[in-house]
Amino acid sequence: MTATTTPPDTSKPYAGLTAPSTARRLLTQPTTGPLVALLLACVFFSLSTEQFLTGGNFSLIVQQVMVVGTLAIGQTLIILTAGIDLSCGAVMAFGSIVIAKMAAEGSLPPLAAIALGLVVCGGFGLLNGALVQKIPLPPFIVTLGMLNVAFALTHIYSEEQTVTNLPGPLTALGQTFPLGKTDITYGSLVTIALFLLLAYALSNTSWGRHVYALGNSPEAARLNGIRTSRLTIGVYTVAGVLYGIAALLLISRTGVGDPQAGQTDNLDSITAVVLGGTSLFGGRGSVLGTFIGVLIVGVFRNGLQLMGVASIYQTLITGVLVILAVTVDQISRRKAR
């Protein structure tokens, strides 16, 4: 919602929408639709099951979506530049194996292993960005290739073995602290903080405005003096570092380094971005919308499970939701023209 406080700016996608009344402004926020959807889903599940509407369950949902959520922040940044990242889950898996193996079997102290993991993931992002920008290659192709590279490296380096017996600091973010009667995971707080940080950066800094401008029209952005090449590579690198943080969150959540992890997380993160109202064509959307998108998936999965609905229906419903969300995006674009 921070976007509403900034002055109109032509490089921003909703710049023409600074409406006079607060109520109208709220209704015209791009996150309003997903938010209403999320609330409706919550009401539905609260009425359907007695366990849904408890603090513990909400804490659980946030905890369950923190890994995909953190990936989805990076994915949002890239999609805002009209790119896409298919490699995020695989890069995260590689990062998690690097961190886990370095700390559990190597001689690195845990904090150094974590730092190394962030650097490795950031390096993948940098490489993605450089290939997209410098050669240039389509993001879809670059990240599809990188998906396989990271996947293979994960399996080679891990020797297909799950890494166990992790030192305490690696799982610290998976620990909980009590808040009233509810147990909150530290990792959930990290994820929420990252969402807020990136939301602020996107809407309140020139960097954020440039990202939107780049997604709307790279040529126009370049002519306006934005260093698009550096910006693109920067966005992919920031995304890579976020995948590294997701890797740490994953380790802390499962308590192991798992080479099989993240295989569908690339698609799950895109799902969250789309459900959050960000356009796959770039330049339109927000990180907060993605947070709501992530929660929609988490709430459906949790709620349906509590209702006792078999998991295949979760897949069915997620698919229907995605198609509906993109349809809405398309219709609103056509009308806007």
Binding site: P34, Q263, L306
Partner: protein, 340 residues
Amino acid sequence: MSRTTRLSSSLLRAAAVAGVAALTLTACGSGSGSGSSSTGSGDVKVGLITKTDTNPFFVKMKEGAEKAAKAEGVKLMTAAGKFDGDNAGQVTAIENMVASGVKGILITPSDSKAIVPAIEKAKAKGVLVIALDTPTEPQSAVDALFATDNVKAGELIGEYAKAAMKGKAAKIATLDLAPGVSVGVQRHNGFLKGFGVKEGDSSVVCSQDTGGDQAKGQTAMENCLQKEPGINVVYTINEPAALGAYTALKAKGREKDVLIVSVDGGCTGTQAVKDGKIAATSQQYPLKMAAEGVKAVATYAKDGKKASGYTDTGVTLITDKAQDGVTSKDTAYGLENCWG
């Protein structure tokens, strides 16, 4: 202009969710095999978490659990990973089931080691956890294990293959599962033991991973034949891999003179034994695993008695070309007791 657009887009999104909610209700209302319907006393909840939703082996397992749940008057909840190896999905399923107050969880672990911390958390909350089909590492991470003895399943077809070769020199291809997956390793080792050869023996001329997939089994067999055309014994991790191997052999006109043996005992696989495509298979009983698991949870709910240790749910060698000295049953028996 665009203001109204945003407004209507919000409403559209809201309407979308309302639609999906309706869909959900329909899904539940139909109750078609989702196992969500409570039966009678239904206060006791049992969770069943399989590796995937789509593998017939797990479909059969679910069916067995549903029948047993009805008989025991307990409520069954089911969940599955998105793909074989989806540990995070199974962790989430465990958490959600514990949150909904299950008395016990039956799980076929996708990753034997990685699932252990989540299981320990559930056990700490007083939930009885039983592994079905695949053991955890360590096995003691769960209260009990109901599974096929996979080493024995491999041994049976190894002994059978040895007898069927009648002293002829063997050139063996093994179409395995995937590195580090215990079920595959145990069956593979069991087969070698039953055949009387050691790992690395020169008679094993080709070993490939198939993931238990028919298409990959076919590719693996094609490559093995390329490498060593004289292969005359094929061990396969399961019948889909065996049928893939059969297709590859048939393309080379070799389907009659190569002995294929397998493990699983699914209905398609057992029919393939009857049709002579596969020589023999070790049949396992997923329905029984699930049914006994549900019973164990019901017992725990009633009198607090926890199941423990390993329960062998049995394995039977199925073939229509019985060999002397190897106990087996014919495909009529196999088809009566097959799953899938």
